[in-house]
Each structure stands twice: as structure tokens, then as C-alpha cells.
């Protein structure tokens, strides 16, 4: 079996979905190379603990030390911009893309319950360190993560009258899903008891177990009995959840939904679909190795040959689009305009709408978000014009160069016709006007949104 060679469209799709877009250099470098090698380039990266600190780690540590519950807007914006810029400049784009995926999956947001900037930045690093690691470890760490303890009231979960907030979302959103729902209200209440007693120590900034506030006695969760294991009971809850056959299918479903297409299945046990089934098998076989699960997905024919007529494409999220545009234009994502536009598009880091995470798919295509995407193109040209963006833009009519700059292998027929008709309608107009138009049309095009 000869190695499959990556086409230009393969490279554009792979980077567009999993790496905040290809640069012109990425397209040239990887087109014609074995597809598995391109995937390996993204996936096989040293773990964060085994490599030299990233240039911006000192900046992160600064935010990390910021008051754990602090809500200062300026600091929040700096931390948000810092992450966006890291997405743009990292040598390991899949790691940041996966960190964003986990931020959506374990959606936690800044709020006055105690989830401040310091807590969010610390959680962000926990997500990054485990982003391509082991899902069981990630679940263990997120359960005791200070930001999460405040966000879902784990810190106030008393053994005397358990608070169900975290237990419910842990099953529904983090590990098991509801396709089908295999857990009962009883399981949630019992899990809340097992998880009680944890709080966050404001001095060490770590989770602390208070046995006096833990519900003693037997808990039966998903037919599994947990008895008086105190501060180890949370590990049992994670193990019980991850032991359910639906759990790897659910995580596979979330990956496909976020990176590839909206799966049609409504019952993961009965009809998961080929791709979800395959990723779930990898998760089971490797005892929850996420790197291998992601590799399985990116290598799969179902990922490469998206059946467009069945809508098997993915709508990229605003953060991906803005970071990709910054990358293409050579513009710092620290520029305040990036964050402002993301606000209008409805997605800024550390502020998901709720624990369910951000909308996905068609919901990103509303008129409000369309306007923001179009305006972002107009604004970007203004930044080019005033010297904020220094990289030269292609001549308005050089669509080949525009495509390469924005990491697209080709324009669809209709998009190309729309741009051509625009150029034709303003024939003879100043070049700046036409470049503005082409730029705005690309970043609001169906081709750029849907990959």
C-alpha cells in the first residue's frame, strides 16, 4: 500500500480545521508529501513538560500569579490576547487548537463566584498540558481544578446537603452525554455526595479536602459501590464514568463535531457511525490516549473526503477565523481589534456563554456574526493602510496570491464568480478600494467559514 500523498486541498483542510489555517509556506511545503507525515507533523510534538519553555511562558506565569478570583478587565483582556497570540505564533498549533477544544468541552468562564483571571489562566495550562495526553488524567485534574471548583459550585458542595451542579455536568457534558442518557438522578445525587468536601485553598491556590464536609458512607453510582474512600472517591467517580462503553464514543463524537462535521447519529450505542466508532476504539485500545485518538481522526478517509453533499464539513469558530486571519496578514493577535471583533462574533476566551460551551455549526453563521466577519475584513484593511499590518497584500486581481495567503487551495466557483463580478463592477477604482473589497469578501466567504 503506497503512502497517500497530500493534495493542496488536503493541506488546506487539515490546517484549516486543526491548526488555525495554513500559511502559503505550509501549502507549498506539505503539498505532495505523504499525508500521514503531515498529520504526524501536527500530532507528534514533545509534551510541554519535555521541552524548552515557550517564549511567552513567563507572561503566562505572570497572569497565573494574578489574584485567583480577580476580575480586573484589563488583566482579563491581556490574558485573552496573550492566548490568541500564542495560537497565532506557536510552533505546535494543534496543541493550542486542542486546548481551545477542551476549553469548549470543559467550558469554564470568569465570574464573581471565584473564577478569576488567575484561576482561568491556571486552568488553561492544565488543559494545554493534557491536551494531547490522557483523558483520564485530564478528568482527574479538571475535577479538582480551582476554576472548576468555583464555577460549578464544587467548592460549596457540602456533604450535609450535596450540591449537584458539578456531578450533573460531569456526566452530561464531560464524560457520558445523553445519546442515550445512561445515568439517573440517583447516580447524580450519589456522585455529588462522593465529590463533597473539596474546596480551594486561597493561599496554596490548590484544591483541599475537608473530610468534615465530606458525605460519609456508601454511594452507589452506575451500579458501582464506593465506600469511605474520602479524598480518593473523586477518582472512583472518574473511573466509573470512563468505564461506561458510551464514554469513549461520546468523546469521539465531540472531536468529530468540533474538527470534522456534525455527526448524524442520535444514539451513539446503536449507530455511532464509522469515524466515531473508529476513534472510540482507539481511545479504548490505548486507555484514553488523546494523541492517538486525534491521529485516528485526522488520518481517516471520512475526515479527508468530507462528503460535501451531505454537509459533512465543519463551520470554523470565530477564534479560529480571527487567529487565522492574523496569521495570514502578519498581524499581532495582541492588537485590541482582534478581541473587539471576537466579542462581536460572540466568542472570546475565558468567557463561554455557559457550561455547555459555545454554539457550533450553523449557529456561527447568523447575520450578526456575518456582519462582524465582513467588518473585520474592512477593519483589517484600515490597519494595513495605517501601517499596523506591514506584510504586503496581493494586487486586487491576483486571486491566486490571495488564496495562497489565506491558506485556501481553491475558491469555489461561486465565490470566485462573486469576487470577479465585484472587481468588474468597480473596474478602474483605486487599488486600495478594490483590495479592501477582496479582503472583506474572502473573510466573509462560505469558503473561509466552512471547511
Amino acid at each position: 500500500m503506497g503512502a497517500v500523498k497530500a493534495s493542496r486541498a488536503d493541506v488546506a483542510r487539515l490546517f484549516g480545521r486543526a491548526a488555525f489555517g495554513a500559511t502559503a509556506a505550509d501549502l507549498d511545503k506539505w503539498t505532495g508529501q505523504p499525508y500521514a507525515e503531515v498529520v504526524s507533523y501536527l500530532v507528534d510534538i514533545p509534551s510541554p513538560s519535555n521541552r524548552a519553555p515557550a517564549i511567552d511562558d513567563s507572561q503566562r506565569l505572570l497572569f497565573d500569579k494574578f489574584d485567583i478570583g480577580g476580575l480586573d478587565t484589563g488583566t482579563l483582556q491581556q490574558a485573552q490576547s496573550w492566548w490568541l497570540e500564542r495560537m497565532r505564533t506557536t510552533a505546535y498549533p494543534l496543541e493550542e487548537r486542542m486546548t481551545l477544544f477542551w476549553h469548549d468541552h470543559f467550558a469554564t468562564g470568569i465570574n464573581e463566584k471565584g473564577t478569576g483571571v488567575g484561576a482561568m489562566v491556571a486552568q488553561n495550562q492544565t488543559l494545554r498540558q493534557n491536551s494531547l495526553g490522557n483523558f483520564r488524567t485530564l478528568c482527574n485534574e479538571i475535577t479538582l481544578d480551582p476554576a472548576m471548583l468555583f464555577w460549578l459550585d464544587g467548592a460549596l458542595n457540602s456533604g450535609f446537603a450535596p450540591n449537584e451542579n458539578y456531578a450533573r455536568e460531569f456526566f452530561e457534558l464531560f464524560t457520558l452525554g445523553t445519546m442515550p442518557q445512561i445515568y439517573t438522578e440517583h447516580d447524580i445525587r450519589q456522585s455529588a455526595r462522593a465529590l463533597s468536601g473539596w474546596t480551594c485553598d486561597p493561599y496554596t491556590r490548590l484544591a483541599r479536602f475537608d473530610s468534615g464536609n465530606h458525605a460519609a458512607g456508601k454511594k452507589v453510582v452506575l451500579h458501582h459501590t464506593i465506600t469511605d474512600q474520602g479524598d480518593k472517591e473523586y477518582l472512583e467517580i472518574v473511573n466509573v464514568a470512563l468505564g461506561q462503553p458510551v464514554s469513549p464514543l461520546f468523546i469521539a463524537y465531540k472531536l468529530v463535531l468540533n474538527f470534522a462535521y456534525a455527526p448524524e447519529t442520535t444514539n451513539l450505542m446503536k449507530s455511532p457511525g464509522l469515524l466515531i466508532g473508529r476513534i472510540a476504539r482507539t481511545l479504548r485500545r490505548t486507555n484514553w490516549n488523546l494523541r492517538e485518538a486525534v491521529r485516528t481522526m485526522l488520518l481517516a478517509d471520512e475526515f479527508r473526503h468530507a462528503d460535501e453533499s451531505r454537509g459533512r464539513q465543519v463551520v470554523r469558530q470565530p477564534i479560529e477565523l480571527v487567529v487565522n486571519a492574523c496569521k495570514a496578514l502578519g498581524m499581532s493577535a495582541m492588537d485590541a481589534n482582534a478581541l473587539t471583533m471576537l466579542q462581536r462574533m460572540g466568542q472570546v476566551p475565558f468567557k463561554p456563554p455557559n457550561v455547555g460551551g459555545w454554539p457550533f455549526g450553523r449557529d456561527w453563521l447568523s447575520p450578526a456574526t456575518f456582519l462582524a466577519r465582513y467588518d473585520w475584513g474592512i477593519l483589517a484593511y484600515q490597519l494595513y493602510n495605517n501601517g499596523t499590518i506591514k506584510d504586503p497584500l496581493p494586487a486586487s486581481g491576483d486571486l491566486k496570491a490571495w488564496k495562497a495567503k489565506f491558506g485556501l487551495a481553491a475558491f469555489t466557483k461561486n465565490t470566485e464568480a462573486a469576487i470577479q463580478s465585484y472587481l468588474h463592477s468597480r473596474k478602474g477604482a483605486p487599488e486600495a478600494e478594490l483590495q479592501t473589497g477582496v479582503l472583506a469578501m474572502i473573510v466573509s466567504s462560505p469558503d473561509w467559514m466552512v471547511m
Binding site: T266, S366, L371, N414, S444
Partner: protein, 442 residues
């Protein structure tokens, strides 16, 4: 004067009555894609649904202030809510002249709603829920917005109404005010249009000749072939957006308000007063803040203050409320044709959480408000019947309190009442199984 439906469709292609246009550059010109007003739609009854997101605690909304014979509601309430129960003299008594005393009061942070209740403009439907209740925010939100507890929801209860009404793509009959179209307004074929607000519905590059050429060009994305359904949809939204911008460009937005909900309701009012055919509006409130697992009282009261003042601002001029700077009174004809309904994905548990939580976990049934036209209006076929409807759910006894409030009114019956008697378009899938709530309209 254009009166056919197709002309109210926002988007290029609408004015010519064809789906696919020849190259737009040939036709480019101001006004293309702009929706035209249709005075005929002024006679439609209107509906605004406010979704209290996060699960509103019903027991601290319509509050027991005394025991009734055979139902020791207040004693149970006080016993199981040691820190978050209101004392009986705090809530505003629901005691319209002529009503039997139910020993219930309204949260004191809803004074305008109370005033309207006393003015015979508010119906409170008690114990609303659906069978086999789900305690998940997401599942339960989908069920409330679809009215489909018996299956995986596939469409919204108002979206199916739009389907039966046979609206066109981009037609402004259902309106979601936000950035994400709620399930409630998604039908099998038809969708409402979502809109953030009026001032933001414009392009950064304005409306001169230079920019209009660009806007005409992005409208062309609407021609993206159906074979790529997601890109086709993305392109259609581009086309609809250009039409929306052109339609709203001369519309006056409400003044900036700190109360976001009030601002949103006043935006709905502006849109409805323009006769673009806007009929059903869906609005979220609270963005999850009603989910009061902890520190409930303060959080809920702050939300209620917003809700109450927003409703007052919407109906200003018909109830002697406080004027809002820069906002005129509502037109009488609109007030007489508009009902506001509040919904939420669930109520909360009867008993509060322990420790220092001072909050409640996810519960089941809760009350629903329907706020209607001023008393004495004659223009609609059926009128909302004010007062309490449905039974208050049972709460057990102080020694054996119930864990949850169980349904006394099926939400589908409430929807069917609204669809049949207010919008004149009953849902056939509800017929015979979910009759309208008896006596809610007459």
C-alpha cells in the same frame, strides 16, 4: 402598494420574485433587497417569549405566604428553606378583587408585574412542566423550546407555526434577538431571523456607492450551490444580512440603556411597529444566571428587577409606569395585540442546598406569566383571561416535604392555547392530546 408575501422576504431576489438572480452587478442599486412594509400585517396578534435562562426558582417567584386548607404550603416552604424563604409580609399579595385568597404573593422585586396583575392584565399559569422531566439545562431547554418531550426535539414550537404559515426564506415573521437563533424559532423548513440589535445591523463601510458594490457582491454568496449545504447556508445568511441591513438602515433604535432586557424589548417594539410582519419574538434573559445553586436570593432579585423594569418599559404608556428617557409610549394598537410570556427550562428544588450555599438545585415545574393587553381592549378575537390558572403543585407536609414540584399543567397545552386562540394557528400534532388550557383565553 405591495401586498404579496414574497415581497416581505428580506434578501436579494425578493423584489423580483425569483430565487436565483442573474449576475447582481447588472442590477445593483440602492434599495435592492430591502424589505417593504406591509400595513396588512399590522392586524396580526404578536407574541414575545422571554426565556429565563438557567432555571428560574418558581417558589420564590409566586410565593406561598400562608397555608391553605389541606395544603400546608407555607409551613413546608419555611421548613425546607431555612435561609432563602421570604417572610409572609415581604411578597406582594396576589389578591385581585373577587378572587378567592390562595395565600400566594409575588416576589417583591416584581412590583410592575404585580400592578398589572391587579389591573387584570396578567395570567399566571401554575405548575407548568412536561412528563418525565429532565433536570439537564440543555435537554430541558430543548424540550421547552420544541414542545416535544416525547422524542429527540427536531423543531421549535414557533418554528412549526412558521412552517404552517408558509413563510419564505429570510421573511421577518419570527425574530430572535441575540446572536444565536433559538430552537423555538426553527421549523422543519422555515426559520426565524436572528438579529443582535438595530445599531449593530449595519456595515462598517457604510452605504455609499463604493461599499454597496461590495455588499451586492457578498449577497451573491447566496447563490452557492445546494450540493454543499453548509456553504449554501453560509451564503444565504450573507444574502439575508445584506437585506436586513438595507431594511433597518432608517429605523430608529432605542436609546442606550443599562437594562439589556429593556433595550431588547424596546428593539422588538420598534421592529413590530414598522409593519414588516414581525409576529413572534424570542428573547433570552439572564444567560444562565437563573441557575442559582448558590447565593440565590440576591441573584434572582437582581434579575427580577431587570425583568420587571423591562416589561414596564415595553408597555409604557398603558399602565402609568415610569417613562424611560428617550422612549415614547407604546402605540395602543400594538399593546392591544401583544402578549408577553415568560418561560424557563425548569423550576428548582423545594428544599435548599446545605452548608453556606443558600441556593437550590435543578427542579421541575414552575409558574409561567402571560402579560397581556390593557383591560377593555376589543380588537382581538380572543382575550387573555387574567388571574391564576392551573393548580399550585403539591408540596407535601413539613414532616414529609415533597422533593419536587410536579406538573399540574402540560406546557403543550399552554402552547396550544397561544397557537390556537392568539396566533390562530393550532398545532395539529397537539390536537386531542393536548387541549388548550381551559379558560386561559375567551
Amino acid at each position: 402598494m405591495p401586498t404579496t408575501r414574497r415581497e416581505f422576504i428580506v434578501g436579494l431576489g425578493a423584489l423580483t420574485g425569483v430565487r436565483m438572480l442573474a449576475p447582481i452587478v447588472v442590477r445593483a442599486g440602492a434599495g435592492l433587497g430591502e424589505a417593504m412594509a406591509d400595513p396588512a400585517t399590522a392586524k396580526r396578534n404578536r407574541l414575545i417569549v422571554i426565556f429565563l435562562q438557567g432555571g428560574n426558582d418558581g417558589l420564590n417567584t409566586v410565593i406561598p405566604i400562608g397555608d391553605v386548607r389541606g395544603a400546608p404550603r407555607y409551613s413546608v416552604y419555611r421548613t425546607v428553606r431555612p435561609t432563602i424563604a421570604y417572610k409572609p409580609n415581604v411578597p406582594l399579595r396576589l389578591d385581585r378583587p373577587g378572587d378567592a385568597d390562595q395565600h400566594l404573593g409575588l416576589n417583591a422585586k416584581l412590583p410592575n408585574l404585580h400592578k398589572m396583575y391587579q389591573q387584570n392584565r396578567v395570567a399566571i399559569v401554575q405548575g407548568v412542566d412536561y412528563p418525565n422531566h429532565s433536570y439537564s439545562h440543555f435537554t430541558s431547554t430543548d424540550i421547552w423550546q420544541s414542545g416535544q418531550p416525547e422524542k429527540t426535539p427536531d423543531s421549535g414550537w414557533l418554528g412549526r407555526h412558521l412552517d404552517r404559515a408558509g413563510i419564505g426564506e429570510g421573511e421577518l415573521r419570527g425574530l430572535g434577538l441575540g446572536t444565536e437563533l433559538p430552537l423555538a424559532l426553527r421549523g422543519w423548513q422555515s426559520r426565524g431571523v436572528e438579529l443582535e440589535n438595530i445599531p449593530n445591523t449595519h456595515f462598517l463601510d457604510g452605504t455609499d456607492k463604493v461599499s454597496e458594490a461590495r455588499h451586492n457582491a457578498v449577497s451573491r454568496y447566496g447563490h452557492h450551490p445546494l450540493q454543499e449545504p453548509l456553504r449554501h447556508f453560509a451564503g444565504k445568511q450573507a444574502e439575508i444580512t445584506v437585506g436586513l441591513v438595507r431594511t433597518l438602515q432608517h429605523m430608529k433604535a432605542p436609546p442606550t440603556l443599562t437594562n439589556q432586557l429593556a433595550y431588547t424589548l424596546l428593539t422588538a417594539r420598534s421592529m413590530m411597529e414598522q409593519d414588516f410582519g414581525v409576529e413572534c419574538v424570542f428573547v433570552n434573559h439572564g444567560y444562565g444566571s437563573y441557575d442559582t445553586h448558590t447565593t440565590q436570593v440576591g441573584a434572582q432579585e437582581a434579575l427580577f428587577t431587570e425583568l420587571d423594569q423591562a416589561i414596564e418599559a415595553f408597555y409604557y404608556g398603558t399602565m402609568g409606569g415610569q417613562p424611560v428617557a428617550g422612549v415614547g409610549p407604546v402605540s395602543r394598537s400594538l399593546a392591544e395585540r401583544t402578549i408577553i410570556i415568560t418561560t424557563s427550562e425548569f423550576g428548582r428544588r423545594i428544599g435548599e442546598n446545605g452548608g453556606s450555599a443558600n441556593g437550590t438545585d435543578h427542579g421541575a415545574a414552575g409558574p409561567l406569566f402571560m402579560i397581556g393587553p390593557p383591560a377593555g381592549s376589543r380588537v382581538t378575537k380572543y382575550k387573555l383571561v387574567p388571574g391564576l390558572h392551573g393548580d399550585h403543585p403539591k408540596m407535601g407536609t413539613p414532616m414529609a416535604p415533597a422533593d419536587n414540584l410536579t406538573m399540574t399543567t402540560d406546557v403543550r397545552s399552554v402552547y396550544q392555547s397561544v397557537l390556537q386562540d392568539w396566533l390562530g394557528n393550532p398545532d395539529p400534532t397537539y390536537e386531542r392530546k393536548h387541549e388548550p388550557v381551559a379558560g386561559l383565553f375567551k
